[in-house]
């Protein structure tokens, strides 16, 4: 037990921060909000040289095979810089291919991911935004050796830039054996796919994606037919924990900007940061961010140990949703009127953190998942020891 960063982790964090400080100024973030693709090719290539896309992928495919905790530290820094990069969607899908894909699928996709030549994303959510198997109505129907996909997916991250997309489809009605879901690797440029960009608070790139008679080879099925629910749950859990890391990085930077502002902005004859009303808000902001970080990295660490982590993931996201939003709100308040102005960079962080609280599970959803684990299984609950693993609903 040592929940502080070790030497390697501290070094990784500082080199990542130095790199993004130099390569990703707020002006680039602003520019990419107006860009059709939403990210700069040159920066994407540079981070591939640093090994970020392949950080937690197997060495066999060119990756560094490092733990998710270290990938979390990278996304923490990406969040800090609010860097316009399709990194989160790419690594989440790549990790699922690495863990649950066939050898042929891994060999076909992962080396290009590591080299920065392939951008990935995944598509789960439809009209009912909850992260539950019963919300999936997009159908994949077997036709000879192929599958034909029909349906509509919402909030697909970076679809505009993606080469491939993991699509969660219904291949059977839910039964007592399984949820009837299957996961397919789909070429984003396949005939029959159309997409419409959504206009979001974060001004990031999310799309509504329509699949109309999209034909894909049966060899693109990830895992077994109808057995995707646990694969998808693990994917969403990894995505959620990594998004928490990204949120926390952005939130901490946002809080630091407010704290620095409070040190020199004067009112009533002294810096506003000398007033206890401001000091105590700032203290709470840091306490909340630290709490969120501890929850998040414990979840990532548990995944690295192959321990059940779904409750830990939900703890982190439910907490970060509320506390990160509160921090960026207070940061706006400390800045006063100027924080409402487009010319100050602060809103770049405020808008993204706020948007990320709404993705990959609301506070209520995650708390419901925790409550189920705590209350709906026999046996006494003890803090610090594992609670019953939440089975797939």
């Amino acid at each position: 037990m040592d929940v502080l960063l070790n030497e390697d982790e501290a070094m990784l964090r500082s080199t990542t921060r130095e790199f993004l400080d130099a390569e990703c100024p707020p002006s680039l973030v602003r520019k990419m909000e107006q860009d059709a693709k939403g990210y700069p090719d040159s920066l994407w290539r540079k981070i591939a040289e640093l090994g970020w896309q392949g950080m937690a992928l197997p060495e066999k495919y060119g990756g560094l095979d490092l733990p998710l905790v270290q990938l979390g530290l990278i996304l923490d820094e990406v969040g800090r810089a609010v860097a316009p990069l399709p990194l989160h969607s790419t690594v989440v899908a790549a990790l699922t291919i690495a863990r649950d894909g066939s050898e042929a699928q891994r060999a076909a996709i992962l080396p290009d991911v590591v080299k920065g030549q392939t951008i990935l994303t995944w598509a789960f959510t439809e009209q009912d935004p909850r992260l539950l198997p019963e919300t999936i109505h997009t159908q994949a129907i077997a036709d000879g050796k192929d599958f034909v996909i029909n349906g509509t997916k919402l909030f697909v991250d970076n679809f505009v830039a993606a080469d491939r997309c993991l699509v969660v489809c219904r291949t059977a009605p839910a039964s007592s054996d399984n949820a009837g879901l299957s996961l397919f690797l789909v070429d984003a440029k396949s005939p029959g796919i159309s997409h419409t960009p959504l206009v979001t608070l974060a001004k990031d790139k999310q799309s509504e994606v329509v699949f109309r008679d999209v034909r894909i080879p049966g060899s693109n099925l990830i895992g077994e037919l109808n057995q995707a629910a646990p694969i998808v749950e693990r994917m969403l859990d990894r995505a959620t924990a990594l998004l928490c890391a990204q949120m926390l990085g952005a939130t901490r930077k946002d809080a630091e900007m407010a704290i620095e502002y409070a040190k020199y902005r004067e009112a009533f004859g002294q810096p506003i940061g000398a007033f206890q009303s401001i000091q105590h808000i700032c203290a709470d902001m840091i306490i909340w961010i630290d709490g969120g970080s501890l929850l998040t990295y414990e979840a990532l660490w548990k995944m690295d140990q192959d321990l059940p982590a779904s409750v830990e993931v939900s703890q982190a996201k439910a907490f970060c949703n509320e506390k990160c939003e509160a921090v960026v709100r207070f940061s706006q308040i400390i800045h006063g009127g100027i924080g409402f102005m487009m010319e100050l960079d602060l809103h770049l962080w405020f808008r993204r953190v706020s948007a990320w609280t709404m993705r990959l599970g609301t506070t209520y959803e995650h708390r419901a998942r925790i409550a189920r684990a705590l209350l709906d299984f026999p046996g006494r609950v003890v803090l610090g020891r594992p609670v019953p693993v939440v089975p797939e609903a």
Binding site: I259, Q279, A283, D284, I286, R367, R380
Partner: protein, 411 residues
């Protein structure tokens, strides 16, 4: 980052659990009932029952009372986390063995070799127990404004003044006292720390009864103590060897001890045991035909509280990690001391709205739920946000020491 325990630590935990299953008998629990001063308080103080004394002897024989203290002073020389594991297991079994308190860490950090050899082994063995004399009638949060005087007179100091909330002073063997030795120096620079026996002439202890006295709080209640004290010092003469650390450097000594004492299982568990208690209670019980565990609002609140309790645990783990790396705190101890007590209060209050009128019933009442612990806890939980540094003072420290925010102008 490593969030796991070593195989050795896991083995220790199993050993402690097996010991507890064998030795925390109904006789022990009966003797501790109504005495919430912790195991040593009960052993030395208000109960002195034979079963509890025997239990303490066995715990001491296993080395668990001084597990992380150096071997040359009677400890086991083990890591701080092992001590935490022992404390946690006993606390969950409703036996608080937070033994050495603020004193031993401060003596190890600031004491002379002679003081270390005299006090630390006897604190570990339970022969000695320190009452803490810090707060005064005019100041608790503003500790450095203390007025109790110690005046050098040859080879002695003469102490005059009054201390408040000297818990355990009616049974402790020694007082661990902060007094002013230089009234002309800036307030933080004229303070010294002394340790001397409670039977030194000139000391008077008067009881102060808490709102948890009548009826007595059940075992496991947060705080839960029925009595504290005010202690008067009238021309109390102590030898100069009673001084801990250098004269006028007592502020550093005292706050160091406070910081180290905040770290540990006891301080965080008092803020989170209620979370476990209410979860396990609603799982196993109904009120008439009504199951609170099926109420969506209660389920949401329970999950929210559970997450916060995990943050309490993880902040304790962070403090442990800092101690293991040499104990250089910036603001993390203060942060923990904000978060956990306020969480404890939040849980206590939320439970009142889960159980409604049942939550008002005190120990001994007909229909009381779990001996009225939830009602007693409502009275005790906010205490942990007040003693050992209030959450407001802790926030000041986070803001100023941790974040570098400036001190405000004097009003």
């Amino acid at each position: 980052m490593d969030f796991g325990y070593t195989p050795g630590q896991e083995a220790l935990r199993r050993e402690v659990r097996a010991f507890i299953a064998e030795h925390i008998t109904p006789e022990v629990m009966a003797e501790m009932d109504g005495h919430n001063e912790g195991l040593l308080g009960v052993t030395l103080g208000t109960s002195r029952g034979p079963a509890v004394r025997e239990l303490f002897r066995k715990i001491y024989e296993r080395g668990w009372t001084g597990i992380s203290y150096p071997k040359e002073y009677g400890g086991q020389g083990s890591d701080r986390l092992s001590q935490y594991i022992v404390e946690e297991e006993f606390a969950r079994a409703n036996v608080a063995i937070g033994l050495t308190g603020t004193g031993a860490p401060a003596i190890l950090a600031a004491g002379t070799e002679e003081q270390k050899r005299h006090y630390v082994p006897r604190l570990i063995s339970g022969e000695f127990r320190f009452a803490q004399g810090f707060t005064e009638p005019r100041g608790g949060a503003d500790l450095a404004s203390l007025q109790c005087r110690a005046v050098r007179d040859g080879d002695e100091y003469v102490i005059n003044g009054q201390k408040m909330y000297t818990s355990g002073a009616h049974y402790c063997t020694h007082i661990y006292l902060m007094a002013r030795t230089d009234p002309d120096a800036p307030k933080h620079k004229g303070i010294s720390v002394f340790v001397f026996p409670m039977d030194t002439p000139g000391i008077t202890v008067r009881p102060l009864w808490t709102i948890q006295n009548d009826p007595k709080a059940p075992t496991r209640t947060t705080y839960g103590q029925s009595r504290t004290n005010e202690t008067f010092f009238d021309d109390v003469r102590v030898p100069k060897t009673a001084l801990l650390g250098k004269e006028n450097e007592g502020w550093t000594v005292g706050t160091l001890g406070l910081n180290l004492d905040r770290v540990g299982a006891a301080r965080y568990l008092i803020s989170v045991l209620r979370d476990e208690d209410i979860i396990n209670w609603v799982k196993e019980n109904r009120l008439g035909g009504y199951s609170p565990a099926d109420n969506p609002a209660i389920r949401d609140k329970i999950a929210e509280l559970w997450i916060e309790a995990q943050v309490c645990r993880l902040m304790t783990m962070r403090s442990m990690s800092i101690v293991e790396r040499g104990g250089h705190f910036s603001y993390e101890g203060s942060a923990e001391k904000v978060w956990a007590p306020e969480h404890g209060v939040k849980t206590s209050e939320a439970i009142t709205q889960m159980l409604g009128p049942y939550a008002q019933l005190l120990n001994g009442s007909p229909r009381a739920v779990e001996k009225g612990i939830f009602a007693h806890n409502l009275m005790g939980s906010f205490q942990s946000g007040i003693n050992h540094g209030s959450t407001q003072v802790m926030r000041d420290q986070v803001a100023r020491r941790g974040l570098g925010l400036p001190r405000g102008k004097k009003g």
